[in-house]
């Protein structure tokens, strides 16, 4: 399952690690957008297979953030 960002912003913190098991609603990364910390969370439980962004990176709307294996 592809987790995409619905907003543009910079990657403030990467919380999840590749290979980690995530529950639904677990935070994967936190973006900074419009001076606010916006979490991107796992919509369903799964394993964080791949992270596609690094801290400090600017990302756009619809950009792939992580791949989740359900």
């Amino acid at each position: 399952m592809q987790i995409k960002s619905e907003i543009a912003g910079s990657v403030w913190k990467v919380i999840a690690q590749e290979g980690a098991e995530l529950a639904a609603e677990d935070v994967i990364v936190i973006l900074e957008s419009m001076k606010m910390e916006i979490p991107i969370t796992a919509p369903k439980a799964g394993v964080c297979e791949k992270l596609h962004v690094r801290e400090g990176e600017m990302i756009g709307e619809g950009q792939l953030v992580a791949t989740l294996k359900l």
Binding site: E6, I7, S33, M34, K35, M36, E37, I38, P39
Partner: protein
């Protein structure tokens, strides 16, 4: 002599009409996981309440002796019925006949739908699946030159447009919907689509020839496109869910613009004060919060859950719009969602606001506004989208409102865009977290005091000092002291305060309800 023969023929023809496109076409339709239009109507309406119009309309074939040999039913099914005991009119294309592309009788029934709805002033539901006209036209007599409508006939789009000011219109896309049916689909106050539906101006083959885009109909007009484009309001899990959403939408609105929405007997307590409201807004402005949870805690709840019914969630998502009950009364609800660009007003959020506010005014729904507006979205994309014009149109719609408004300022109200959250002569409540001004401190200080900050020994400390100083001026206490708001409240008091106000506001209405006609907007 009796009329038995003719009566038998009526029965025979009714039977033929029910065959729709024939067994093979119906089976093929079911195999695609879709219901026929007659099954859809049965799912939507109260049992046995369908009262059909024009059941006998269709394309007949007669033998030389004038005996009926075949009958293709009109491929638009139309009639009255009831939802929860309330009269409605419902219509939809029959995809099993010519893929929903109109045959002559189907076209007549289809264009009659809106006139009937306007005449009897009952809510209208259209269940769409089908294409528009084909190059070959709608006639079945290939030998004759096609005839257009007479020059003196009224365009079918006149009643279509008039319905929006007069009666609630809810529509569904339940398969491919293209051309004229797609236009009819979006001429509605609420629209829903199923995961396997597609909404198209023109289908893949036409698009490929004209523009070179080689795309499937789902890629062109599937839910992922049209929930975000704003053409369609909500996604339904399946057809049954689409019917449930339409019924739910209709439960909040009156039969027509000449009547007020009906209240239901509330089961929730007036004085339900949720403790979580006191701490839901973080004291750090960098932390977001869930505006939907606030809305759900304040609005009525019953055994089924929250009375809040959200519409158009994926379009202009920095703004939340939906219908709810407050002590049993129907209200429109708006709120900012700070998870999207801090809740900033984008061009799409502004269009969503204008449309929703006009809808509430059309059907006499008081508006409850939960405010956390940082201002218009800024930057090159926002300028290119014409946000300022769409935003100013939204503000005009809000301030020309005729329905009662209550505004709960939860957090931010900054800039010009904040005006779109406060209707005329609104009941104004502020939470202790409320902050107002021309610009948010975080953005404004660095610009307004740029030179002063740069000249300081410790620029970061200077910026922080200035921000703290200005943040204090944005506090809600001076506004309460100056009666710039009606009340500064403990967030837990929001529900009882709003209910007391709503009862006063509804009792004070003296004008008879009439359609809402607006003037030119920016």
């Amino acid at each position: 002599m009796t009329w038995d023969k003719e009566i038998d023929e009526i029965q025979a023809r009714r039977k033929l009409a029910k065959q729709q496109g024939g067994k093979a076409a119906v089976d093929k339709h079911h195999q695609k996981g879709r219901l026929t239009i007659r099954e859809r109507i049965d799912t939507l309406l109260d049992k046995n309440s369908f009262d059909e119009i024009g059941e006998g309309a269709g394309v007949p074939e007669y033998d030389a002796g004038g005996k009926l040999t075949d009958f293709q039913p009109a491929n638009f099914i139309l009639g009255f019925g009831q939802i929860d005991g309330r009269k409605v009119i419902v219509g939809g294309e029959d995809f099993t006949v010519r893929g929903g592309s109109p045959n002559p009788a189907g076209l007549r029934k289809s264009v009659y739908t809106e006139r009937l709805a306007l005449k009897y002033k009952v809510p209208l539901i259209r269940l769409h699946e089908g294409g528009g006209g084909s190059v070959g036209g709608t006639g079945n007599d290939k030998a004759r030159r096609p005839l257009g409508d007479p020059v003196f006939s009224e365009s079918r789009f006149v009643p279509l447009a008039e319905t929006l000011s007069s009666i609630p219109v809810a529509t569904a896309a339940l398969g491919p919907v293209a051309g004229l049916p797609a236009a009819r689909l979006v001429a509605s106050h609420f629209s829903v689509m199923t995961p396997n539906a597609a909404v198209l101006i023109a289908g893949p083959q036409v698009v490929k020839r004209a523009t070179g885009h080689d795309m499937t109909k789902e890629e062109l007009g599937g839910p992922q496109v049209h929930l975000a484009s704003g053409a369609i309001d909500n996604l339904a899990e399946d057809e049954a869910d689409a019917m449930r959403q339409i019924s739910r939408f209709l439960s909040y609105v009156p039969d027509n613009a000449w009547s007020f929405p009906k209240a239901i007997t509330p089961t929730d307590k007036i004085d339900r004060c949720e403790d979580a409201l006191a701490s839901i807004v973080p004291t750090s402005r960098r932390q977001p919060f869930q505006m939907r949870k606030i809305i759900e805690m304040v609005m009525d709840q019953d055994a089924q859950g929250s009375s809040f019914f959200e519409m158009s969630r994926n379009y202009g998502p920095s703004l939340i719009t939906g219908l709810a009950r407050l002590n049993g009364e129907s209200v429109g609800v708006i709120g900012n969602d700070c998870m999207y660009y801090a809740g900033a007003m984008t061009a799409t959020a502004a269009q969503k606001m204008r449309r929703f506010v006009d809808f509430c005014n059309s059907f006499h729904l008081p508006i409850i506004s939960f405010v956390d507006e940082p201002g218009f979205m800024i930057g090159p994309d926002s300028e290119a989208a014409g946000t300022i014009r769409h935003g100013t149109a939204a503000i005009s719609a809000v301030l020309q409102s005729r329905v009662p408004w209550a505004c709960v300022q939860v957090l931010k109200a900054f800039g010009v865009a904040a005006q779109a959250h406060f209707g005329p002569d609104a009941y104004m409540l502020n939470w202790p977290s409320a902050a107002s001004g021309a610009l948010p401190v975080e953005g404004g200080v660095a610009v307004a005091f740029g030179r002063e900050i740069a000249a300081a020994e410790d620029p970061a400390a200077k910026q922080k000092e200035l921000e703290d100083m200005l943040a204090a001026t944005q506090s809600p206490f001076p506004r309460a002291e100056g009666l710039s708001v009606h009340e500064l409240i403990d967030p837990r008091e929001t529900r009882p305060k709003l209910i007391q106000w709503l009862q006063l506001a509804l009792n004070a209405r003296t004008e008879t309800p009439t359609p809402y006609l607006t003037g030119m907007r920016p």
